[in-house]
Point group: C2
Chain length 252, copies 2
């Protein structure tokens, strides 16, 4: 029913010094002391310690942990639910890192060179939530968006490598075409626009000509997309936009 520091430390897998520290900062003070001044922990203290350790494992600073635990509006069950949720989020994050590693392993086997952005995708501050929120706002709750998400979540590393390879191949060809001076409404340019549409259809969602031109206009309106294409080759964004429109008109 009552435990000394050493016993608590052993069963909880922490050091005595840690318990002293938690006592010192008021995060976990034992419910009592012996006449000699020895700390005595009871079951309630252990329960609290368990909460502390879980939240600590999840990366919270101790001060915040104190606030969370002392929140009067949180019963034990609420903590369990919360920790469960946080744990699954962390696991998901680590699994993303695993797929990133697997991706890199595949890429290195195939001698594909990763860009810095790809390298740090899992760390970078592109903030998937932000991204996703923006995409949702922009795309709305359209069928295409949901379809894309549904399909994308099914792809494995091999698929992504294929997509990447296809995309890079296509990119090289349109850059070459732009450099060659062929106009954006030339048959070659329109063919590449058509190919772009089919890549999207094959891998992400059914992309009609109408949807395709809408996509092209969005590319132009969104600085993030234009800068992406402009970085590949200056003038490419506008060139692609024009080619997509020409293609849609000629095939309609």
């Amino acid at each position: 029913m009552a435990y000394t520091v050493g016993q608590v430390a052993r069963v909880a897998g922490v050091t005595v010094r840690t318990l002293h520290h938690y006592d010192g900062i008021g995060l976990l003070s034992p419910s009592g002391r012996t006449p000699a001044g020895y700390r005595r922990y009871n079951d309630a203290d252990l329960q609290r310690l368990q909460l502390v350790l879980y939240y600590r494992e999840l990366g919270f600073p101790l001060e915040e942990i104190a606030a969370i635990i002392d929140d009067p509006a949180a019963d034990p069950a609420a903590h369990l639910r919360r920790q469960h949720e946080l744990l699954t989020v962390r696991i998901k994050r680590l699994q993303e890192m695993v797929t990133a590693i697997e991706f890199a392993m595949e890429a290195s086997k195939l001698n594909i060179q990763l860009t810095p952005e790809e390298r740090f995708e899992v760390f970078g501050d592109f903030e998937p939530e932000e991204h996703e929120a923006e995409a949702e706002q922009r795309w709305g709750d359209t069928d295409a968006y949901r379809e894309s998400n549904r399909r994308a979540s099914r792809y494995g590393r091999d698929d992504w490598l294929r997509i990447k390879a296809e995309n890079e191949d296509w990119g090289r060809r349109i850059v070459a075409l732009l450099a060659s001076g062929a106009p954006a409404d030339s048959p070659e340019a329109m063919d590449l626009a058509e190919e772009h549409r089919q890549i999207i259809s094959r891998w992400f969602y059914e992309c009609s000509y109408e949807v395709h031109t809408g996509l092209a206009d969005m590319y132009m309106a969104d600085e993030r997309f234009t800068s992406h294409y402009e970085n590949i080759a200056p003038g490419l964004a506008a060139y692609l936009n024009e080619a997509i429109h020409a293609n849609a008109i000629s095939r309609a």
Copy 2:
């Protein structure tokens, strides 16, 4: 091809100060400087940074990370394999925490009270590896051991709750019997011994009478087991041992 601190920081999701720090301690010094003294990072630096961040995420101290990365006997592929392995270990650990949480949620729903040991199972220093290594040494590569492991790995929280409940029920009854003064070779004691054998058979592995008596002797020889039973009630370990032997003889 060459990046400033700020650019590197943004893409890698760290602060500029962190890069300064890594430079300061020699963990990651940029390959060059501009005439004005600005740090210039190239692709190789970014690659190294990526390694650093992965190992950091995995909880390694920076000094150790430097040693790992500068290990001449580790090519990029080896790092990928290593990180992959470490990540899966961490994921497994977190998943154990999840099952522990789920276990606690179930237990709290059913109003079952957890013991401190159970509470800290996932943290405690019982060191599963140590445990497992010992069990393997002790049990050898027996069929029973493998069977037990195979079955145990299939159980979910509900199963464990059932096992726990059954076990506690059995425990209460044998403690009561011991307290009642019934001798260890009384029919009641032998019935409880038989029940013990069947619990093991049902949940873990086929437990013959011979195996059962062997198990009982091992309990007696192993201080960890005896102290477990002695903690429940003094004299219980020896009582159970005797009852199991009596039961095996009478049914043989």
